[in-house]
Amino acid sequence: MFKKLLLGSVVALGFTGSAMAETVNILMEGVPDTQFVKELIPEFTKETGIEVNLEVVNYAEMHTKLVPQLVSPQGSYSAIVVDFYWVGEFVKAGWMQPLDERIKADNFDTSVYVPALMDLVGQVDGTTYMLPFYNYAMGLTYRTDLLADAQNQADFKAKYGMDLKVPATWDEYLKQVEFFTKDGMHGVVNQGLRPDPIAMEWSNYLFANGGTYHDADWNPTLNNEAGVKAVEQYKTMIDKFGPVGSASFSFDEAFNVMAQGKAYSYITYNFFRTAYDDPSKSAVVGKVEIMPVPGPTPEQGGSLNGAWGWAIPKSSPNPDAAWTFLKWVESKEIAKKRALAGGSPTRTDVFDDPDLNAKYAYFPALKQMLLTSHNFPVFTYTPQLVEVLGRELSLAVAGEKSPSDALAAIEAEMAELARKDGKLK
């Protein structure tokens, strides 16, 4: 009897084994775009018979979960998504498969991608390791209803001698922040938590003042007039024009302040734009718009770029199936569907699509933002640089270091990291 039972279960197992389709396993972060991809996956399984299993985790867990899988000869992830932070490290460690041959064999067109994104999460030194997945460039979100208010316009004109309108330059924006800090409203809300929220947000301030992280030879260029001004402005925003506690806000807390209608503006990731129009999360539906962070002149932008890319790790158990998935998910059709659902595209043909522009009036602004945005330094030690920035900026905001001392400390550590990586000679 027992033998029969055993035999029966072995046969049953064998059947399920052979009937089980191939599965593509992907580790992803719990963000809106992941959700949009998840909703589209049944279409892929129907087309190809390949199952897709998305393991969705918090950002903080991703790196720690990925590395052991990437180091081992045979990992459990068929494909991965790579934050631009990690690109330098993953390339240096040789964890990603080059995709050029697959791209060529299938005539997959990569020229449709926004060039800045291809630089950030596509190619490294001429080899394509990733396909840009979604962008999280930062933009200025602001309250359109406050700008349009006649009383505000008259008061602003009287106070500053200029019209109250969508700010064309950084200085104009700073005046608006000061102006709107009144009657319990805050001119701005900041995400001052270390390390990445503050480091990413402050980068916009740096670029908006015309600053840069390093010169062509990777010599740090932070401790100068633009850098010091950026730190001083950031501190003033938190101390004078922002709500109490924004020095410790992560992006969700800062977003909530803005979404509850308590602030005029918030510089944040563009994927938050759709959330402002979601009545379950926002009390300011239809009153918030996004634009590129204004720069020192109307022609220059101050936005920080950011993006994730799809990649196939060397340790992938089934790279061919993974590539089939990548090709499908990054096709114009699927990329467009994802964008229609509210995703952040990376393809120019999706940005130019008439259906999308009809649905989302802010799409031209998003495209403009990507085209004028600045990249964060990408090298092996990007995460560590973010860590250093977070610590020193947080010290400066807390008033425990002068802006110039904090920037000098960042420069010293950044130069050491760049030297260790062979970027700085």
Partner: protein, 296 residues
């Protein structure tokens, strides 16, 4: 003659004992000693996640680098103060509540259940809940304060307040651990000495000082020791609530080591830091253990 026989039997017993203990000793070796030795070995090499190999032997360089790092020293010093703060406060509060509960006759299981709730929660969830409670503008704590006319407190954004906020949350989360252990100790105390003392006319305070404290000493030391070791490892709360900020106000050593390993990718130096931490905790444990034996 009988002595020799007994020792032969003893030896047999001892051998049998070793055989019985062998499986658990093997498991202990594999899951505790092996990782520790592996960390020690790693700490003597330049082992990074970029080049995960033991090609370069660096001797004690990683230890020198760690000890020379002002950030590491700051984290270590902050951790010492944090640990003393939470352990002492939790002990005082926990012992007080345990003494009160020890007198309670009715509904004891209900009090237990309520007290154990925070302890059963995952620290990550505790951190997230408190982050929401303590939101300066939208959180309930500042709202309640505002109803009695107190201004908004910048719980996590002020360098002077943040560490106390973390200590407060840690106490909320862990104090029931102290209560449960101390209460178990109190419940097992014999009744006779108290009765005798009462006959002699001792008051409650005298009973506490001269009977409860001396008889509870071992339990107290074990409780403090376990809590102390856990407190040194505090990581989740910091990670969720402050990320070590604002500035470096809450940058505890476990979180610092984590960053060295997984952000800085420097497993060698992080291992060295862990070994330093382990040595410190071991030393403290050994000292308390000897102290405990000496007073028996």
């Amino acid at each position: 003659m009988s002595g020799i026989k007994a020792s032969a039997a003893d030896r047999r017993d001892a051998r049998f004992g070793y055989v019985l203990a062998a499986p658990s000793l093997t498991v202990l070796f594999l899951i505790i000693l092996f990782p520790v030795l592996s960390a020690l070995y790693t700490s003597l090499h330049e082992y990074t996640l970029i080049a995960p190999n033991f090609d370069i032997f660096t001797g004690f360089d990683n230890f020198r680098l760690a000890l020379a790092d002002a950030e590491f020293r700051h984290s270590a010093w902050l951790t010492i103060r944090f640990v003393i703060g939470v352990v002492l406060l939790e002990f005082v509060i926990g012992f007080g509540i345990a003494l009160m509960l020890n007198k309670v006759e009715r509904f004891k299981p209900i009090y237990y259940a309520i007290l154990l709730c925070p302890l059963l929660m995952n620290p990550v969830i505790v951190g997230l809940i408190w982050r929401m409670f303590l939101h300066p503008n939208l959180g309930i704590v500042n709202y309640l304060l505002s109803t009695v006319g107190l201004g908004p407190v910048n719980w996590l954004g002020d360098t002077k307040i943040a560490i106390w906020t973390v200590i407060m949350v840690d106490i909320w989360h862990q104090v029931s651990f102290m209560i449960v252990l101390l209460l178990a100790g109190l419940a097992s105390l014999p009744k006779e000495p108290y009765e005798a003392a009462r006959v002699d006319g001792a008051n409650a305070f005298q009973c506490f000082i001269h009977i409860t404290l001396p008889m509870m000493r071992t339990v107290i030391i074990v409780t403090l020791l376990i809590r102390l070791i856990f407190a040194v490892k505090t990581y989740d709360l910091i990670y969720i609530m402050t990320r070590g900020g604002p500035g470096v106000a809450t940058d505890l050593v476990s979180y610092f080591i984590y960053r060295t390993a997984f952000v800085g990718l420097n497993i060698g130096e992080a291992s060295a830091m862990s070994i330093i931490l382990l040595t410190a905790i071991l030393g403290l444990t050994a000292y308390l253990y000897r102290y405990m034996r000496s007073i028996r």
